[in-house]
């Protein structure tokens, strides 16, 4: 792949750029020389067969791979022009700018309120109790959950349904006011109705946030994203405008995948 060519052709200004990224788990290479731009206020979908490195690549953006001892990341990833793997960068600050929603909903075993309030509390984002309450309610509203839980904010977050838990996790991520939200297969454990609600939510969220979503469902990528990147065996095969990728891919491997011949 041509390394310095602009990978996004959607025209929007990239908020994040990855150049020549390699990721290793011990000696095993999981990501091989990937370059990708993430356009601002758009939804970028990472698709590809299971084990091709989508999660690994996504976790480079907020340095969650740091938590895996054997994992090494090489290459250049910039957020708002700043190299995030620079030793001077504070991971804690970075992760408060770049939120993450995981495959399996993982609310804390605390009340709904405390789940959402945790981020603002540790980052001292609220000036008063009222302000904190305000942040929590706004975040729950943005995540489309407030109406369902407004009368039971002190109940445990783990008592909600799967779809509600996942929206609670989205609200929790929103509460620290990030610029980018990374989502790793957020709907893979949800039923179609809960999935539809979250997809609708994502669509409304892109006004304010940039979203990168990993999904194994091509239909989901086609429905929600503006840009799609197709990964295969640790390589970025093709990326670009979602419509174009799904209707008129350049590479044969992409064609094979979306027509169901690899998977």
């Amino acid at each position: 792949m041509n390394t310095d060519a602009p990978v996004s052709d959607s025209g929007a200004k990239p908020i994040m750029t990855a150049r020549n990224v390699d990721v290793f788990y011990g000696k095993k290479q999981a990501i091989d020389n990937v370059s990708l731009d993430i356009p601002e206020n758009q939804i970028t979908a990472l698709i590809g067969p299971s084990g091709c490195g989508k999660s690994t690549f996504l976790r480079c953006f907020n340095r969650m791979n740091d938590t895996i001892q054997i994992c090494r990341v090489k290459g250049d990833i910039k957020f708002a022009g700043q190299d995030i793997y620079d030793p001077k960068v504070d991971v804690v600050a970075l992760r408060s700018r770049i939120g993450m929603v995981f495959q399996k909903a993982n609310p804390f075993p605390k009340s709904i309120f405390d789940n959402v309030a945790y981020g603002p509390r540790i980052h001292s984002l609220s000036e008063s109790k009222d302000h904190l309450e305000d942040i929590v309610i706004t975040s729950l509203k943005r995540a489309g959950l407030y109406d369902e839980v407004s009368d039971r904010l002190d109940e445990p977050g783990t008592s909600l349904s799967g779809g509600q838990q996942q929206r609670l996790c989205i609200a929790r991520a929103i509460a620290v006011d990030p610029q980018i939200i990374l989502m790793d297969e957020p709907c893979s454990a949800l039923d179609p109705i809960a999935t539809a609600i979250i997809e609708e939510l994502m669509d409304s969220m892109k006004e304010k946030y940039t979203i990168v979503i990993v999904t194994h469902s091509m239909q989901q990528a086609a429905r929600v994203s503006q840009q799609t990147a197709f990964f295969h065996l640790g390589e970025l095969v093709e990326s670009g405008d979602t419509k174009q990728i799904f209707t008129n891919p350049e590479k044969e491997r992409t064609q094979n995948y979306i027509s169901g011949r690899i998977g």
Partner: protein
């Protein structure tokens, strides 16, 4: 119904039989172990239950001033030290007037506990107004009389030469019993006294308090150290050859016989640091050394069982490593870590060998008031009593075992309760 659902092929019958057979093996194994336990518990129960009762003898005592307080100033320490033997003996002679020779009088007085006179002295010194009056007082019988009254000495079966309690003594006891001057009452002394040379006066309080102080020290040292070690190794330390070596060593330490920890304590705490010998302070430190590996291993396995998703959730929000660990991981692991600690301490409560090594094996009458007082511990007390030749200590031993078992069960129940309660939050 289709045919193939009904047929039982020979293989299927065989598989079925094997299944049944294994179920029965399991049930038999459980039945055997339960019957062992039942046997042990009933044996201890029936041997020890007698110790919770104690034989008392009523004596009509004349608290004559001439005998007790010739100076007439009612000084309570003088009253405590006065000689109560003559007045007790006079009281007994009212029932057994024929005991007049010196030898008979000593035998008659021997029916009472050696502690009876001291006991009476305490009562009088607390209430000097008793001097000059006469009153019926109940005092403890000697251990031999106690055993006889409880039916543990059969005068027909055991020939007189082999008995400490002779036929004449028995006749006197019966004379007292006829007049209603013998009764059994609840043995409070067993719970309120320290050790004694007289079985009827011996109690477990000083040993129990010694055990309590030792466990307190053990908890104060082992709990924070164990948990911090586990948290560091599990959450912070990078896996390396060094952490592997530590891991192997901790596992080895958990398997080291407890007496080795006792020797270590003797060498380090007593001989090198010069800490006071035979005290709960040192006992607790030795027990802490012993429980530490158990706590670390239990805590680490609990920490490992906390799902990575919990850590990811906090880290993904921008929580630091320390915030993640202490806001989320440790609180979730706490019930399990506490349970592990209590179970480790329950084991320490029953430990004898290391305490023997550091001298907590003394004959302790006084109840220790602090961690630096000389003390003994419950299992050591059991060991000491089991080793005593007097027959009266046999039931005390079993009774002390029952008390120890009750404490162990209470600790285990508490561990379960704590786990339930702390987990029930969500």
């Amino acid at each position: 119904m289709p045919d193939y659902l009904l047929t039982t092929s020979p293989q299927m019958a065989k598989r079925h039989a094997r299944h049944k057979r294994f179920q029965w093996y399991g049930r038999i194994a459980i039945a055997i172990s339960i019957s062992f336990m039942l046997f042990m518990f009933t044996a201890i129960f029936f041997r020890g239950i007698g110790a919770f009762q104690k034989t008392m003898v009523a004596v009509d005592v004349q608290f004559t001033e001439a005998n007790l307080d010739p100076s007439g100033n009612r000084n309570s320490s003088d009253l405590l030290r006065a000689n109560y033997k003559p007045i007790l003996l006079q009281g007994l002679q009212q029932v057994v007037p024929e005991a007049t020779s010196r030898q008979d009088r000593n035998r008659l007085y021997g029916l009472l506990s050696n502690g009876a006179a001291f006991d009476l002295g305490e009562r009088v010194s607390n209430k000097p107004a008793m001097v000059g009056t006469s009153e019926r007082v109940w005092v403890a019988a000697s251990s031999e009389v106690d055993l006889y009254v409880k039916g543990k000495i059969d005068p027909v079966e055991i020939p007189e030469e082999l008995r400490r309690l002779k036929d004449q003594d028995i006749a006197w006891v019966e004379a007292l019993r006829e007049k209603g001057q013998i009764k059994k009452k609840f043995n409070t002394a067993f719970f309120t006294n320290g050790d004694s040379r007289e079985p009827e006066m011996a109690g477990i309080l000083s040993a129990a308090i010694g055990s309590f102080f030792s466990l307190l020290i053990c908890f104060l040292i082992a709990f924070p150290l164990g948990i911090l070690t586990a948290v560091y190794l599990e959450e912070y330390a990078k896996k390396s050859r060094f952490t592997d070596i530590i891991e192997v060593n901790i596992n080895n330490l958990a398997a080291v016989p407890s007496i080795v920890f006792g020797l270590l304590g003797l060498a380090i705490f007593l001989n090198f640091f010069g800490l006071p010998r035979s005290t709960p302070l040192v006992g607790g430190m030795v027990l802490a050394l012993m429980t530490l590996p158990t706590i670390i291993i239990a805590s680490r396995s609990i920490l490992r069982s906390i799902p990575q998703a919990t850590r990811d959730a906090a880290l993904g929000l921008g929580a630091s490593k320390t915030q993640t660990t202490f806001h989320h991981v440790v609180p979730l692991a706490m019930p399990g870590m506490l349970t592990g600690t209590i179970l480790g301490m329950a084991r320490a409560l029953g430990e004898t060998a290391p305490l023997l090594m550091i001298g907590m094996v003394a004959f302790i009458v006084d109840v220790p008031k602090g961690v630096t007082d000389v003390a003994t511990a419950l299992p050591v007390q059991i060991f000491l009593w089991a080793d005593s030749p007097e027959k009266g200590f046999v039931e005390l031993t079993s009774a002390a075992i029952m008390v120890l078992l009750v404490f162990l069960v209470l600790m285990n129940v508490f561990a379960v309760y704590l786990r339930r309660k702390l987990e029930r939050r969500w």
